[in-house]
Symmetry: D2
Subunit: 228 residues, 4 copies
């Protein structure tokens, strides 16, 4: 796993925010690339499907898809094919984000597909036991995000430190290699620093970056915080 | 409606076929554009989401998405936003393809979103009564495709002419303006010609074109058949 | 249709309320039966699946299931078979309630299954155009319920009379025979009376009855209101 | 766990087979009860939802639901409430059967609900890694069933012994207490005996029992095989 990407890592989920759609997705990705290079910190961008190609063309930092379907090439109109996002330039994918949840067997199948295609898999989970279950499927990354904090500005690392610690403990019991992230409400550099101190290897963030008036500055704050 | 596109119309669904993914999607779209110009026939291409931008950049014929989700900009990780596919260059979208079926209320919401964004909506339906229900929601196009014939090479227009006729009749009872297509098993120009004679204004096709050794020739055969 | 049940009709949806689970479901059904007989008004009860048999055993008024799946006997663990609810004593079923929404093709298939088994089908819809689409599928009953009013105590018939009227109009354009109900927020006899004046043939109610301290009295108020 | 039920255990899934619907469900349950008492072997029956009450009334052996939804009492029309199946007489439930698959977070929530209501939870899984993930959620039972063998008569214990062994190994790495079953294609007593030898504590069976001309005899054969 360690050869695939450097930790700590910040994954920026563009969701379907208008502030990160189309040309704005490319601009945000360029801010992320700039900060990544200036600070020497691993930053991943996860734009919408239709924007992957343009973003991957514009920047050299890793680009993730927000989702893949557990399918192989064939008759699957409207589904997201691993081969397709890879050819568009993605090097990894979120799986089972709380806004795009999958059946258990489909998470397993999506992780296998990602592995087969040499795509980095980041499975999202809503609580400690689900995080452990996800880790048992051997993805590259598990990201713990309590849905009730997503978008609130109340950081999981500040509001529920013992839950983050417990998640790290339960995940490590079933998987010693997986990279562990946490997310939800991460708004300040301090939230990032605390997340790392609690035993994670990075954060999954969205609104705090995407909806910021100055996306570059908040990205830099987050990146600097990974170095404390 | 009539100002939006010219009929008869041929929509080519690229599905998630490897023969129409990434660079190959662009090549197929160029074949379609060439035939469209040579024959003066309306041909639409529906590539995968990640390929919409590149295809729309490469050709001047209409590009459809294979799917949109019934969502507005916001927190919808992994979903397909109408604004996003439009900014990528799509001018319309399939909705409720038999391989990507939606809840009834989501079909209604997706049609409204398409209308709001000035995107052409093409709702797929599996039988005459479902086609009529879809037509009651006032999309631009209803495409009737019996799933049991999809990909078989047995054309709906040849195998079930009375079902196509009945579909046209039921649809017209609830909607006099909607464009009616049929699909499933369309493999030869003759299948296209018969579909039009049965009262449809075009066809939705996939494997016969995408998996053809000579995509250009079969596209031309289909285009010519619309003129009989 | 008219031979199947008498209108106006009041359908009481027990949902999964604890006030209408198990033995309490039987008690509520007995209140409904008493009012139905006293007032000569058609009242249907729709208990949870596991309660259908006990309720149907206890009362003579019609019992509906809250849902059926579009399946035939076979390997469908955990699904709701039309034959099963019928053998348990149900004479009809809700389909596509806003809390149990189905794909369009599954609504169509469920209506056909109900028809084959001589079960009364009541399809729920969230707005006028979806009501018309549902009516195009030829169910016995269409029930219009705007989800934003469900459980609010703000009656659709009082708050959105023009929407109810428009629903009746759109439904009648595609189906002259279907029974039309409305629901959401119906709390007083007056709400029921207004619903009927707006052109519906009855109401679909839940919390106002189920959660009432005196279920019998509010049922009687609703029944009397159908006679104004 | 051990206080909740005795192992080895045979769970008979009635699915939605017509041979196990309504009155026939009660008859099959009585056969199972007879064999259970005669042989002193733990047999569980899992009838359809609408049949739980009648079956639980008729027999003293444990009755499982085929499914529960991850919901609490409230506005959940058409869903399966843990309280409801418990009041009907069920003492446990299948969760995530391959024919009724759930999202990962819903499996977790359903297990918690079952635990809160003192219902035995049996989570189904399609392969070794998914079985381990399910086990990480701490259900009472994990049942491994490769879907490609379900209903074939080719027993998983005979056809894929190394996969069963591997499943037991992976599950035990994350959960030392959970009861492990296997299923799919179990057709003869020998298949049951082999399943136990491979390290499982029982079997989940369906068609071999339900569709047998002599349900009693095949049940007895299975029960005897657990004693070899």
């Amino acid at each position: 796993m360690k050869t695939k990407f450097q930790t700590p890592i910040i994954i920026v989920n563009f969701k379907t925010y208008s502030e990160a759609t189309g040309q704005k997705a490319v601009e945000l990705a360029k801010h992320a690339e700039k900060v990544s290079k200036e600070k020497g910190v691993s930053i991943v961008v996860a734009p919408q499907l239709a924007d992957i190609a343009a973003v991957a063309e514009a920047v050299e930092i890793p680009v993730f898809s927000q989702h893949i379907d557990p399918i192989k090439p064939g008759s699957h109109t409207g589904h997201v094919l691993a081969d397709s996002i890879k050819e568009a330039g993605a090097v990894g994918t979120l799986i089972n984000h709380s806004e795009k949840q999958l059946k258990l067997v489909d998470i397993d199948a999506a992780i296998r597909l990602a592995r087969d295609k040499n795509l980095i898999s980041c499975v999202c989970a809503n609580n400690p036991s689900v995080s452990a279950a996800a880790a048992a499927l051997k993805p590259d990354i598990v990201s713990f995000e309590p849905p009730e904090l997503i978008g609130t500005g109340v950081a999981v690392s500040k509001a529920q430190p013992e839950v983050v610690t417990n998640t790290v403990k339960l995940v490590r019991e079933v998987n010693t290699e997986v990279t562990i992230l946490c997310g939800a409400g991460i708004s300040h550099g301090e939230d990032v620093a605390v997340a790392l101190k609690l035993g994670t290897q990075g954060v999954l963030v969205a609104s705090a970056i995407v909806k910021a008036k100055d996306q570059y500055s908040i990205l830099r704050e987050f990146a600097e915080a990974t170095k404390r």
